[in-house]
């Protein structure tokens, strides 16, 4: 049973406070939806949770330990899916997945095959990245989630460019991940079905504007 918590996070980008005093706690099997209008800091929060950004104030805690004490261990327990798909034009789908799985410390042929099957890219295994459509690239990126196990998934608008069947596959993958004790944090504008997910509205933590202050 793991716990991931954020305590009074404040994020400043380009001299402007994006959100302030944001806290939440998440346990194994739980999910969190990040909602809010454009520019409310959903992506910044996810990058901050991944450790790509440093919080201006506040801290992240995993099982009682501050995350910043060991960024590598934090990297090992999370998967981050951002706006870009990290697919190289000249590498095939299977090479890309094997590479990221091995880099993440896990590589079993089985899991990679399972990941490709889940997102219906098995028949694309030998196709180079430059021939993939936007949705297919996104599916390759999402297949990383399955190819190497990690308890915490941070997904930034994962359903962009996906068709209905693929969104369903993603929902199934998230449900199974949670059933196995994983955590999911998703930001989205589209409808993604995540049963009993907690909701975090970023506008509730908007920093007071300069005029009001």
């Amino acid at each position: 049973m793991s716990q991931f918590a954020a305590e009074t996070l404040t994020c400043v980008r380009g001299g402007r406070a994006v959100f302030a005093r944001l806290s939440f706690a998440l346990e194994s099997g739980q999910a969190l939806f990040l909602l809010g209008p454009n520019g409310s800091g959903k992506s910044s929060l996810l990058r901050l949770l991944a450790g790509l950004l440093r919080p201006c104030a506040g801290k992240l805690i995993w099982d009682g330990q501050p995350v910043q004490e060991d960024p590598e261990a934090h990297g090992a327990r999370l998967h981050y899916v951002g706006h870009h798909d990290a697919v190289k034009p000249v590498l095939t789908v299977s090479e890309t997945l094997h590479f990221w799985a091995r880099l993440h410390g896990g590589d079993s042929e089985n899991r990679v095959l399972q990941a490709m099957e889940r997102f219906a890219i098995t028949r694309l295994a030998d196709v180079p990245g430059r021939l993939l459509s936007a949705g297919q690239k996104r599916r390759v990126n999402l297949a990383r989630l399955i190819a190497a196990p990690a308890p915490l998934w941070l997904l930034d608008e994962p359903s962009v460019a996906l068709d209905k069947a693929s969104v369903k596959a993603l929902e199934d993958a998230m449900a199974q991940h949670r059933a196995e004790g994983g955590m999911v944090i998703v930001s989205t504008h589209a409808d993604i079905d995540l049963p009993d997910a907690a909701i975090l509205r970023l506008d509730d933590f908007a920093a007071p504007s300069q005029e009001a202050a």
Binding site: A50, E72, A76, G82, A86, K88, V90, E95, W100, H104
Partner: protein
């Protein structure tokens, strides 16, 4: 350690499939050096006298050409973020990138040097010393260049900016490398200069890796 080998394998595979980059660097190197016999006349004594400097200056410029792509591709397609989140020290991954860069530019430059030695009337002994300086000096170029390439990520016209940042830092390597070959040409001992090149390389390893990793983390913010 597994991450080092995996990334190195992927980089070499990318270089092999994209192909042209490495060939272009060597092509530029050879062509630029061959221009000089045409420019300053074919007198063997003069050519042999300027040969070490010519080869080294052009090796620096050729190495620059390939630097701006070192991290740019990964930065643009999101791979950089995932590399930073890899459960291994970022310095190790930078080491893999730098190794791959040297294998695809430094090593081919060395392979092309004997051909240029013929054009420039270098004796076999002097060529041997030149190759030694290239072997010890070009990894330093990749290491220092990596810092420059990481620093200019996200900047417009990064390629020009890298040259401004990095070329001045290449000067010590140039001085001692050319000094060694010069000494060999005049039958003086040259191992001292080579030892200093080695020392510069040893200093550049930790500095280059840590500075590149810090610059990459900054670029991903």
């Amino acid at each position: 350690m597994i991450q080092y080998w995996e990334l190195l394998k992927r980089e070499l595979r990318l270089a092999l499939r994209q192909g042209s980059d490495s060939m272009m660097v060597v092509g530029f190197f050879v062509l630029a050096v061959i221009l000089f016999p045409f420019g300053i006349g074919p007198e063997p004594g003069v050519l042999a006298r300027v040969a070490p400097g010519l080869v080294w200056v052009n090796a620096l410029l050729a190495a620059m050409l390939s630097l701006d792509r070192l991290y740019q591709g990964d930065y643009e397609d999101g791979s950089l973020e995932l590399l930073i989140l890899t459960p291994a020290p970022l310095e190790v991954l930078v080491a893999a990138k730098v190794t791959a860069h040297w294998l695809t530019t430094g090593l081919p430059l060395m392979a092309a040097a004997p051909l240029l030695a013929i054009f420039l009337n270098l004796s076999a002994y002097d060529l041997g010393v030149l190759l030694l300086t290239l072997a010890v000096g070009t990894p330093t170029l990749s290491l220092i260049g990596s810092v420059g390439a990481a620093l200019v990520l996200g900047a417009r016209r990064g390629g020009v900016l890298i040259s401004l940042l990095v070329l001045p830092l290449f000067i010590p390597v140039l001085i001692f490398a050319v000094g060694a070959v010069d000494a060999a040409q005049h039958a003086f001992p040259w191992t001292g200069q080579l030892a200093i090149l080695g020392a510069i390389l040893l200093g550049a390893v930790p500095l280059g890796l840590y500075a590149s990793a810090a610059a990459l983390r900054q670029a991903a913010e």
